[in-house]
């Protein structure tokens, strides 16, 4: 060994091997807690962000005011987007894709089994623009419908399954659709179309059943170039809300930011819980270092009396703390990778983000924090050792 003080520290750790290992176990637990929890939180964030980011280029336009609308000769209050507003949106959106959406929530029946879900009415030509079919085929109109994978699984819907939609009452004949395709899972979405748990019907079937022809509950604009998102929003707002707020215009970025903030807070919280274990480890290291100093008082007296500088004595004890930290950090780093992977796999079910820098960085970060905590715990014992009176230290037995 080049540095005799490091050598002395290594030998001291070896001499008190069991005690040193037990002290390092505290650091192992601390590093694992911080790294694994950090990785869990980050993987959660990355997973959600990825799901939301897939349709982050969508501008969502929803009605903002109650209007008096004439439907079937009767005047009723509605909160919808009408044809003229849709034309304004289409005009402002330019080359971007505009998707008018009808939406309601309704009971439905598969045979005698009752369920409830979202019913979306969409122009069949718009559906492939943002939804994918995993099984079967897209609807071409008529009474062919698509169902989301969650609703299909929950109600055993298959291709060709007949779904009666509406509230059953004596003598009433409920309108029905036939499943032509099952959609691919989308998970959490940010375009306000939660298709996994929905039935997607052709817009004509929808308006024939529920009314509201040329009146839409929502209009989505899929922006081709994400950089033009804000520009497109501004153009729509200028066009349609010029005389006061007629529609509310949102996009996924603000929602994404809110979710990120929430998950970030959650990650910080679980990291703080992990940090508590490091505090406990720090106390343990401090205790071991104090014991090491107390046991080696005479040795410290010898070192000081034959010309060892105070800084060199301090260095020797800080090396010892560093070695304990390094052992804990290395073992903790390995264990946190294994445990972190298992926890992420078990709790999120998706480990594709585990080795991304933002996630895996928690391992070296946790290791560095573990080592720093150890060195910090050794500061006072090292200072105490270096400031001993050599005469008193030599006299001690």
């Amino acid at each position: 060994m080049k540095d005799i003080f490091f050598d002395l520290s290594v030998r001291s750790v070896k001499l008190n091997f069991l005690r040193s290992i037990l002290a390092s176990v505290g650091i192992v637990i601390g590093v694992v807690a911080i790294s694994a929890m950090g990785m869990l939180g980050t993987n959660m964030q990355l997973s959600v962000k990825s799901q939301l980011s897939s349709d982050v280029n969508t501008v969502i336009i929803t009605p903002d005011v109650v209007k008096q609308t004439s439907i079937g000769g009767a005047t009723i209050a509605t909160t919808t987007i009408d044809t003229s507003e849709l034309q304004d949106i289409t005009s402002a959106a330019g080359q971007n894709t505009v998707i008018p959406i009808h939406r309601t929530s309704s009971p439905f029946y598969i045979g005698s089994t009752e369920g409830r879900g979202s019913i979306y009415g969409l122009n069949p030509t718009d559906i492939p623009k943002f939804l994918s079919v995993a099984q079967g085929q897209y609807t071409e109109g008529g009474s062919d419908a698509l169902v989301g994978p969650t609703i299909a699984s929950n109600f055993n819907m298959n291709l060709g399954t007949r779904i009666k939609i509406g509230s059953e009452s004596p003598g009433a004949i409920l309108p029905a659709v036939r499943v032509s395709g099952i959609l691919a899972a989308r998970g959490i979405t940010s375009d306000n179309v939660n298709s996994d748990n929905a039935i997607i019907v052709p817009d004509l079937w929808y308006t024939n059943t529920y009314g509201g022809l040329n009146l839409y509950d929502q209009v989505n604009v899929i922006v081709t170039n994400i950089d033009q998102l804000n520009e497109t929003e501004a153009a729509i707002n200028a066009k349609i809300n010029r005389n006061g707020d007629v529609v509310r215009i949102t996009d996924a970025t603000s929602r994404l930011a809110t979710i990120n903030q929430t998950l970030g807070t959650m990650t910080s919280f679980i990291l703080a819980i992990g940090a508590i274990s490091l505090v406990v480890a720090a106390v343990s290291i401090f205790n071991v270092m104090m014991m090491s100093v107390k046991e080696r008082v005479q040795e410290i007296g010898i070192l000081l009396s034959i010309g060892t500088e105070k800084g060199e004595v301090r260095r020797m004890f800080l090396y010892e703390a560093f070695i304990l930290g390094l052992i804990g950090a290395v073992v903790g780093g390995i264990m946190s990778t294994i445990i972190g992977y298992s926890v992420v796999s078990a709790m999120i079910g998706n480990t594709s983000y585990f080795f991304q820098p933002a996630s895996i960085m928690f391992v070296p970060e946790g290791m560095i924090i573990g080592i720093v905590v150890c060195i910090a715990s050794g500061l006072y014992p090292a200072w105490m050792a270096s400031n001993m009176d050599p005469i008193d230290a030599l006299r001690s037995e």
């Binding site: 001499l15 070192l303 009396s305 034959i306 060892t308 105070k310 050599p390 005469i391 030599l394």
Partner: protein, 243 residues
Amino acid sequence: MDPIEAEEAMTGSDESTESGMPLIRLSDVSKIYHLESGDFTALDHVSLDINEGEFVAIMGPSGSGKSTMMNQLGILDVPTTGKLYINGRDVATLTPLERTHMRRDVIGYIFQKFYLIPLLTAYENVEYPLILRYKKRDDTGKAAAVLKSVGFDEALSAHRPTQLSGGQQQRVAIARALVNEPKIILCDEPTGNLDSKTGKQIMDILCRLNGEGKTVILVTHDPKTAECARRTIHLADGRVVES
């Protein structure tokens, strides 16, 4: 100025002898300990000169101030009043770091209980002061040579202190004290923990070193051990009663 010259400038030089000042001068030195039971005067207005090349024995009964005197001479402590000059430097004016360097470079300490570093081998114990001084491991073979001069071969040098007899440990302690070629060798009851035969061997080594020009200061209560000394200082109640 190379590092060694810089160290010498810090820890003193041959100027002391050239200017006529002895290697060690105690001028009206007192050491008073402030205890709960009252002040205790361990050294009481002691004045003393020790020249380079002397072999001085300091004798006296228990509590006479021998250890306090050794602590002063070893720069482990400073006088309460009076002046202590070592190698031409007033110890009271030295910074703590300068005192540390003086202990390392000017003084070689040999203790009754050997006080070897238990975690190091015999060789490493001797090499240690060289590392302190030159901030690197000894690649000159000096540590091995000094060990050889006290009768240690390579195989024995690899042993830890606990694997050595008392006499062997004291030889290692002597080698450690000598390796930085100090001007002053302080011996605190060096044969106190040894049998008479081994004790005589140790004293022979110290006599030989004095013959080679080293200044040896020996604290002992044993008149036989003090026989080698050419001058004996008797202490009683912190005062020099005979010199």
